[in-house]
Amino acid sequence: MSSGVIDYTKEFSVIEGKPSLRSIDDLISKPLDTKPDKKYYIALSITLTMLMIGAVGLLASFYYGTGLWGNNNPVGWGLPIVNFVFWVGIGHAGTLISAILFLLRQKWRNGIARFAEGMTIFAVMTAGIFPAIHTGRPWLDGYLFPYPNQHALWVNFNSPLLWDVFAVSTYFTVSFIFWYVGLIPDFAILRDRTKNKLKKIIYSVTSLGWRGSNRHWQHYEMVYLVLAGFATPLVLSVHTIVSFDFAVAVLPGWHTTIFPPYFVAGAVFSGFAMVQNVLIFIRRIFNYEHIITLDTLEKMNKIILLTGMIVGYAYAMEFFMAWYSGVQAETFAFINRAFGPYAWAYWIMFSCNVLFPQFFWIKKLRRSIPFMFIIAVLVNVGMWFERFVITVTSLSRDYLPSSWAYFTPTITDFSLLIGSFGFFFTFLLLFTKTLPVVSIAEVKAVVDGAQPTHKDH
């Protein structure tokens, strides 16, 4: 490729160096067969400390009540909802990689799909905590589901908040099934490799007795396709419904039809940034550089650039519509966003999401690992602030000036935010040592020479 002339008649190899199939087994199952080293324990102790900070904040919130949070009268949603939308968004990259890129036959996804799906599951778990605790009495959350309860009352199917319950729980379940179906052949490989008796039992049970039979592969591939077909509209629907939580309300700054596509693009944007951040460490620590190649990272950066520009377009369009609609409240809401008391948050969001990703136009920067890491971190900072700006600025200054109030998060709010990162990364660390973080079967299928040449056909 460095010569400048690319031969498009041949398919590009997504796995570098044509490794033997057995060496792929050895490499990917190595973290599972070896004892964790010191660095792993240091990383785990950091994430567990963050988790404990969150646990203390959570217990305090339960014991003393949600008055410990910064939520006040106009800003009833505050940080819990900001964090919820942020984490659900992080999850979206996983399904995009595993389902949409699968349908689009993007073979480079095979190396990163498993890990991204795992991140989806953990991110949705993290996200689920926040609306549950934001209700104030999480032990009553069972009433969110339509079951014949003692009040003889059913849930309100007209409410976007209820749609959210269905969307997020469906999303979690389907992602988990997708993930497990992908893991079955890998469990069979691990079962046949391991010498440890206990592991053998565990892998035998989880592999369900997979034999690599082509009569099974045939149905398996069909189901994988069907699941990808389901997961694709599902992932689009989830953040659409999350955006309905805002868009269905009549608050200026929320009540716009651009919200669903804008939220979905934003979710993919932040999710890809998070996946890219973590993969940079994974490929380095476990020596997966030839499986998760620099080309793959570059392709992810291109998607970050694309979705970042969609988000930037949405920011611009919101301002245009505020002016073009001629609605006074709407115009005020957006001027207030950019130049009001939360202008600092708005400009952090704008520069991190729209300006900094523009560096990815330059190929050299797009392929520089330290640089792309910093940009992706900034993207996630920006996307967190986007949710903050949307939630807080609109609520703090609504139609009635007499009810305006400034929202200041408290230390408990921040402890929950830190705790959510601890929760997510603790699961991620445990995942890297208990399950194959790269799909062994899928990677084998895209190694050069793994598919028949069909020379006689």
Binding site: P146, N158, T173, D192, N214, H216
Partner: protein, 379 residues
């Protein structure tokens, strides 16, 4: 059992091209009970083995559509029949708002259903007692080799013939696979006492923990979290106020918002002279009066005020409204009866608000007029 039962013969190949070619030959030779084992799906193998396309998409379609229809009926029943609640002025049957939930339920059911059907029906999994498990053949094909297995139950199976056939198509490490004794003599262990005891113990532990958590733990300090708050609830003892009551009496002379104090308690004649019905004789007022009369007055006084109680003697019958005495009472005098009660009739001041009391009196007047009409009414 000393004699082992033959499962079949297996052979290994090194490259995907070889296995495709071999599968075509095995299929052309007329074998039916054979299988190809590969570490990953090899393109073109389905046509080489002449397999029919998978029927799983149809299962997904059927499960998804039936879940959608069921959920639709369920939502209609919940919101329009079982417990209709008006939300934001929307109709009970507000289909557009149901689309998101219908979509999610369709996807959820179809995904779970298809995967369960694949695993349980198409693969007959979990199956950990297959003879191929734990063989060198299995270990090779799950890693980097491609294998073919021909089962002994195939109609064309013959040990020598299959062995020579496999070597003729280029297979390596041709070896027989036998059933393990455990696999042949396997019996269902679900009904063994040991397993049943285990199930019972698990069931008791789960239900006990759930009961304890929901009914005991939640009420223990400090798990009663938000139940204990720094505020007084009605009837609670106060340590702050001297009289020990947490509920305070209103300051003398205070009047509830919108309430006009009744000055004639214990003085019905005074009320009769001073009070005048403020309501006009309109259709709305009479209808309000009829509604309240039928609810609160008619059980004892009868629907037409004739004193014909519907209580079947369980409570003394009151006198008729149509007597000379009651007809000649002023509206204010009847109002006094509603406020204070009379004889065994209690006060209805808490059941009826001011306008309702006067409306009831208007309706009573109409009833009286119906039995004792003046001549002028006939015109």
């Amino acid at each position: 059992m000393n004699e082992k039962i033959l499962y079949g013969y297996t052979g290994l190949f090194d490259t995907p091209d070889e296995i495709i070619e071999a599968a075509e030959k095995v299929s052309a030779e007329g074998f039916e009970k054979y299988d190809v084992h590969t570490p990953y799906p090899v393109h073109g193998m389905d046509s080489a083995m002449k397999l029919k396309p998978s029927k799983l998409p149809y299962i997904a379609l059927v499960i998804g559509l039936s879940a959608m229809v069921t959920m639709f009926i369920f939502m209609y029943w919940m919101t329009s029949i079982d417990y209709p609640v008006i939300v934001g002025g929307k109709p009970f049957f507000s289909f557009p708002a149901w689309v998101p939930v219908l979509f999610e339920i369709t996807v959820l059911s179809a995904s779970i259903g298809t995967v369960v059907a694949m695993i349980a029906v198409f693969f007959k999994f979990p199956n950990l007692s297959h003879p191929l498990h734990d063989t060198d053949f299995m270990k090779s094909v799950s890693s980097d080799k491609y294998g073919i297995s021909i089962e002994a139950v195939d109609s064309r199976f013959n040990e020598d013939y299959v062995r020579s056939f496999l070597s003729s198509i280029g297979a390596k490490e041709i070896s027989p696979v036998y059933w393990d004794d455990e696999e042949v003599t396997f019996k269902n262990t679900v009904l063994k006492p040991k397993f049943l005891t285990f199930l019972i113990v698990v069931g008791l532990a789960v239900s006990g923990t759930t009961y304890f958590t929901l009914n005991k733990l939640m009420f223990m300090v400090p798990f009663n979290w938000m139940r204990e708050q720094e505020k007084y609830i009605p009837q609670e003892i106060s340590t702050f106020f001297e009289d020990g009551f947490s509920m305070r009496t209103p300051v003398k002379g205070s009047v509830a918002l919108g309430n006009i104090p009744y000055r004639f308690s214990g003085d019905p004649e005074g009320a009769g002279e001073a009070l005048v019905n403020p309501l006009a004789v309109t259709k709305e007022n009479l209808e309000l009066g009829k509604e309240k009369f039928d609810i609160y007055c008619s059980p004892c006084h009868g629907y037409f005020g004739e004193g014909d109680s519907r209580l079947k003697g369980q409570f003394p019958n009151p006198p008729s409204f149509h007597s000379e005495k009651v007809r000649n009472w002023s509206d204010g005098r009847i109002y006094a009866v509603l406020m204070d009660g009379q004889n065994v009739m209690p006060s209805y001041s808490s059941q009826l608000d001011r306008a309702e009391r006067w409306a009831v009196i208007l309706y009573m007047r109409a009833l009286q007029r119906s039995l004792n009409a003046k001549e002028s009414d006939l015109k």
